[in-house]
């Protein structure tokens, strides 16, 4: 712990430290996932969020535990930022019963209803209608809740996106649309898929406030999200944030990356959201290299423990294969 923090840093500094810690947790968690995947410990599709951590952490800062989150298949970051226990997320990667979805979902389908985290949806755009419905339920019951829905730039090409933008605006629903624009829909660059690449402009055409935000800067994301959530809660209807970000790794674990140039990745890495915040904190004397190292080490230790726990956790018995297809019969 840094001297500054130990002496009782100002609340803003403590908050920034917390943001940094959250982003670093996501980063280290996913680094571990790469290792575990390569070793064949975890399998399936694993979509890494590395490079985009500021979006999840920044948006989550703007909502409360009463609000709802709907996420995508690239949702480790959203889940960890939302506060899903590290152990339960890691166990889900292993497909164990202690996983947040009892191991039934895996990397792409993390759920925690107790935290109003309505899951990783692996159909591009498929979570958008759900967020509309959750918001509709809140509105019908007069709740002051907001539903934050994450989706990527790829979803903007889906019909469901447009249906949902229209419906949310038409019905004035309390939804915060968080478009994570990382410039590639899998391997297809934005400009090769979208006639109009200004995504905020397109959302704005449905009559809702929409603007672009630097998605590599967690403080900028937090600021924008707070503003939007406040407006939504005040009855301002749906808002749209285009969070401009970049994924440093392949679409899913490994790919040949024929669709983008290494130098482009290197360029974006210079704006690594973790480094960006850490640098700022160093500059304002909130963080030393040793602090950063210690923070990382502590997180690595937590993650190793989570891995050990996940490995030791029980697997679902095969006799229970068809559980959770239908709800249990009422007794």
């Amino acid at each position: 712990m840094s001297r500054a923090a130990a002496k009782g840093a100002p609340p803003e500094a403590a908050h920034r430290r917390d943001l940094l810690r959250q982003m670093l947790l996501i980063r280290r968690f996913e680094d571990k996932c790469v290792e575990l995947y390569s070793a064949g410990e975890i399998r399936g599709f694993v979509h890494l969020y590395i490079g985009e951590e500021a979006v999840a952490v920044g948006v989550n800062e703007a909502v409360t535990a009463e609000d709802s989150i709907v996420s995508t298949y690239r949702e480790h970051g959203h889940a960890l930022a939302r506060g899903l226990p590290l152990d339960s997320v890691m166990a889900e990667m292993y497909g164990k019963t202690s996983g947040c979805s009892r191991g039934r979902g895996g990397s792409m389908h993390l759920f925690d209803v107790s935290r109003r985290f309505y899951g990783g949806n692996a159909i591009v755009g498929g979570g958008l209608p759900l967020s509309i419905g959750i918001a509709l339920a809140d509105k019908l019951r007069g709740e002051q809740r907001v539903t934050a829905c994450f989706f990527g730039d790829g979803a903007v090409a889906e019909g469901e996106f447009h249906e949902c933008m229209n419906l949310a605006a038409l019905w004035d629903l309390p939804v915060l649309f968080c478009c994570e624009n990382n410039l590639y829909a899998m391997g297809t660059a934005l400009e090769r898929a979208q006639a109009q690449t200004d995504l905020a402009l397109r959302a704005g055409s449905y009559g809702m406030p929409a603007w672009a935000v630097d998605g590599m800067d967690v403080l900028a994301v937090q600021h924008a999200a707070r503003g939007a959530v406040e407006a939504i809660r005040a009855g301002g209807g749906p808002h749209f944030l285009e969070l401009r970000t970049y994924r440093f790794r392949a679409h899913s674990m490994y790919d040949p990356e024929r669709y983008r140039d290494k130098s482009e990745v290197e360029e974006w890495k210079k704006r690594d959201p973790v480094d960006l915040l850490a640098c700022r904190m160093r500059e304002s004397d909130e963080l030393t290299d040793a602090d950063f190292q210690a923070m990382g080490d502590a997180l690595t230790g937590e993650i190793d423990k989570a891995v050990a726990a996940a490995k030791a956790a029980p697997a679902e018995p095969v006799e229970d294969l068809t559980r959770f297809v239908y709800s249990p019969e009422p007794i």
Binding site: F111, Y118, G126, P129, G133, L136, A137, N166, F324, Y326
Partner: protein, 329 residues
């Protein structure tokens, strides 16, 4: 009026009474769909409900099947009890992603956390000369999907009673209303209400052959059974009522008695619900069979417009009688 008194009604009115009843009894219930409000519903099922319950609970939607079906799923996740109406089963394909990838899978993907207490109603079937994009019987497709339940009310009692039970179900339930049934007349007791949604019903008892059907072909099948009675062939008619899950026991008990089965299904033959039932009979009642099972299905053609072609494409009483004769020998 006491419970034993009966009143004249139609299938449409019975369905409307069921929706009204649900809206009155549970304030979590609301109806949502294309033109369910001001227009009164494409088939006039919800006519008048807007005035009674207001636009929040009788909610017109844009032509966005995927969005409003998905919104129904989301609202159900968040504790509401939505009834979503899709005009026809053909249009439901625009929402198939939401039905299949979300409604049917969320409970499992979430390890039991996210049940979806949603009811989706839609019209199915042919017989009204509305051609190849409004006439098909695709409920068999939906029965392929674990995680949802599929109902086919074929009688006034079921039209009146299935909805409430479906709304009590913690999981998504699809109700298929055959378009030819809405004008069906009959009477219901004044206290008609919820019915079970898991069993098949024997609509006509018989000893010589089991006719297995559901929905719009029930009346055709009963007519065929009456014709057969004139030939001294005593046919049992089973109304499946629930297409998923299937009530295997009622089917196999009947086949054990009659030793012959003819399945009548308006859906296309290949890969049909009829095929599934036939397979189950093979699996569970093979040693009771005294003749191969027969299927009487819709012709494998996109539904043509002219009346005579449409009729030729549908399972008719003559085809059923012929199939029974083959089976009985």
């Amino acid at each position: 009026m006491t419970g034993t008194e009966t009143m004249k009604t139609t299938y449409r009115e019975a369905m409307r009474a069921a929706i009204r009843d649900a809206l009155q009894r549970d304030d979590r219930v609301f109806l949502m769909g294309e033109d369910v409000g001001r227009y009164g519903g494409c088939f006039a099922v919800s006519l008048g409900l807007l005035d009674e319950f207001g636009p929040e609970r009788i909610r017109d939607t844009p032509l966005s099947e995927s969005a409003f079906v998905g919104a129904g799923i989301g609202a159900a996740l968040a504790g509401m009890r939505p009834i979503v109406e899709i005009m026809t089963v053909n249009f439901s394909l625009l929402a198939l992603d939401q039905i299949m990838n979300n409604a049917a899978t969320l409970l499992h993907m979430s390890g039991g956390q996210c049940n979806v207490p949603l009811v989706i109603r839609m019209t199915t079937g042919a017989g009204r000369q509305v051609a190849a994009q409004h006439s098909h019987s695709l409920e068999g497709w939906y029965t392929h999907i674990p995680g949802i339940k599929v109902l086919a009310p074929a009688t006034l009692t079921d039209a009146r009673g299935m909805l409430w039970t479906a709304l009590q179900d913690p999981d998504p339930v699809l109700i298929f209303e055959h378009g030819s049934l809405y004008n069906m007349h009959g009477s219901l007791t004044a206290d008609a209400g919820a019915v079970d949604i898991r069993s098949a019903a024997v609509r006509r008892a018989g000893a010589d052959v089991s006719l297995i059907t559901y929905g719009g072909t029930l009346s055709t099948t009963i007519a065929a059974a009456e014709t057969l009675a004139g030939d001294n062939i005593d046919a049992e008619v089973i109304d499946l009522r629930s297409l998923r899950p299937l009530d295997d026991k009622t089917i196999t008990d009947s086949v054990a008695k009659t030793h012959r089965a003819v399945i009548v299904d308006e859906g296309w033959r290949t890969g049909s619900l009829a095929a599934e039932i036939s397979a189950r009979i093979m699996e569970q009642a093979f040693w009771d069979l005294d003749a191969p099972t027969e299927r009487v299905c819709g012709a494998e053609v996109p539904m043509p417009y002219p009346r005579h072609l449409e009729q030729a494409a549908l399972p008719g009483a003559d085809a059923i009688v012929a199939a029974v004769r083959r089976a009985v020998g």
